[in-house]
Amino acid sequence: MLSGWIEMSQISRAQVLHVKEMEYIQAARTIGAGNRHIIFGEILPNIMGKMITQIMISIPAAVFLEAFLSFVGLGMPPGSCSLGTLLSEGFKSVLLHPYQLIPSAVLMILLIVGSHLVANGLKKATE
């Protein structure tokens, strides 16, 4: 949580730097648009597409990270209901009751793949 914003800010910074060089920004400057208008009226609408896609991609990353940490015991306490803990519990009894692993695994896969598909779709739509 403390360092997660860095990736997002690097991407948005790169996007802004790219858009900043476009001539329509120069055009806005020549007619005297202020910084506020340029940032919110011109630059932001053009980077929103990439930002939203980036958010969508970071969801499965977060899901996976949490699941991984809980699985190895570093995340949520064992009693709580998180994908990782469920997987962890299920793994403990994999030799006796393998089916316990399946629902949480399937759910996790669906979440991650689904988010990626939505992100891809959004990326195509905004380009």
Binding site: M22, E23, Y24, Q26, A27, A28, R29, T30, I31, G32, A33, G34, H37, G41, E42, P45, N46
Partner: protein, 284 residues
């Protein structure tokens, strides 16, 4: 093409303009003691190769670059050294700019009508939204874009059409001076001809002055009343279009003119001779 009318008043006066900036640790002198004038209703062609500083000077006039020294005065008002944005917007209302790249000069997320209306709104031109609508529609008509297309996005238009929209944006507020920074460079030959014809018509109908910055000597000669030749930041020669092309005085100007590939007879005859030699050698 009209020749200079000496009784015309100077609209824009650039005096001893110097523009230096630092890049990668080196001092780059984009403009060195440049002085010229643009009269009302005339097209002044600023011609030079890349690195000559012509774009930098254009951007200096419009305020995108800061002049290191010298003065730029428009209609008697001094443009250098303006600090406040409000003062800038007010004084610059009658100077507009057309950009080079039709693909990036329009905000892709805005409808083209919106782009023009916003431009007018930011400069506080037009009393209310209704008047701005009308001005935008007039601008579209003048550049030959059907007004019904105003709610489309830039991606639906071709390069030439986008450039027309850029020109509409510049003309909507009825400015006195338009700076055209290589505005036809990215277009096909026949589209260039269309745009250049349009600029000529606009100049005649509205008396708008143009600063036509380009490296394309033929187009500059065709469009301009007067021409200035730039090289490495120095303005080497100014004169009427005919003077420059008929009797260039500076050696660099002569070199520039001589380098233009032309459809001249002797070149063709040379080529024809070469072909004749070719067919002669294959007779077996």
């Amino acid at each position: 093409m009209s020749k200079t009318d000496v009784s015309k008043k100077a609209l824009l006066s650039v005096n001893d303009l110097c523009m230096y900036f630092d890049s990668a640790g080196r001092r780059i002198k984009a403009a060195e003691h440049v002085s010229f004038e643009i009269n009302e209703g005339e097209v002044f062609g600023l011609v030079g190769e890349s690195g000559s500083g012509k774009s930098s000077i254009g951007k200096c006039i419009i305020g995108l670059n800061r002049a290191t020294s010298g003065s730029i005065s428009f209609h008697g008002t001094e443009l250098t050294g303006i600090k406040s944005r409000r003062e800038y917007t007010e004084k610059m209302r009658d100077i507009q700019m057309i950009f080079q790249d039709p693909m990036s000069s329009l905000n892709p997320k805005k409808q083209v009508g919106q782009i023009i209306r916003d431009a007018l709104k930011i400069q506080h031109i037009g009393k209310d939204a209704k008047e701005r609508d009308k001005m935008a529609a007039d601008a579209f008509r003048r550049v030959g874009i059907p007004v019904e297309y105003a709610d489309r996005y830039p991606r639906s238009f071709s390069g030439g059409q986008r450039q027309r929209i850029g020109i509409a944006r510049a003309l909507a507020g009825k400015p006195k001076l338009v700076i055209a920074d290589e505005c036809i460079a990215a277009l096909d030959a026949s589209v260039q001809a269309q745009i250049v014809n349009m600029i000529n018509e606009i100049k005649k109908e509205t008396g708008t002055a143009f600063l036509f910055i380009s490296h394309d000597l033929s187009m500059v000669r065709f469009l301009s009343d007067r021409i200035g030749v730039l090289h490495l930041g120095y303005l080497l020669e100014t004169g009427t279009a005919e003077e420059i092309f008929r009797e260039p005085m500076h050696p660099y100007t002569r070199k520039l003119l001589g380098a233009i590939p032309r459809c001249q007879c002797r070149i063709l005859l040379r080529a024809a001779n070469h072909s004749v030699r070719l067919s002669a050698t294959t007779l077996r």
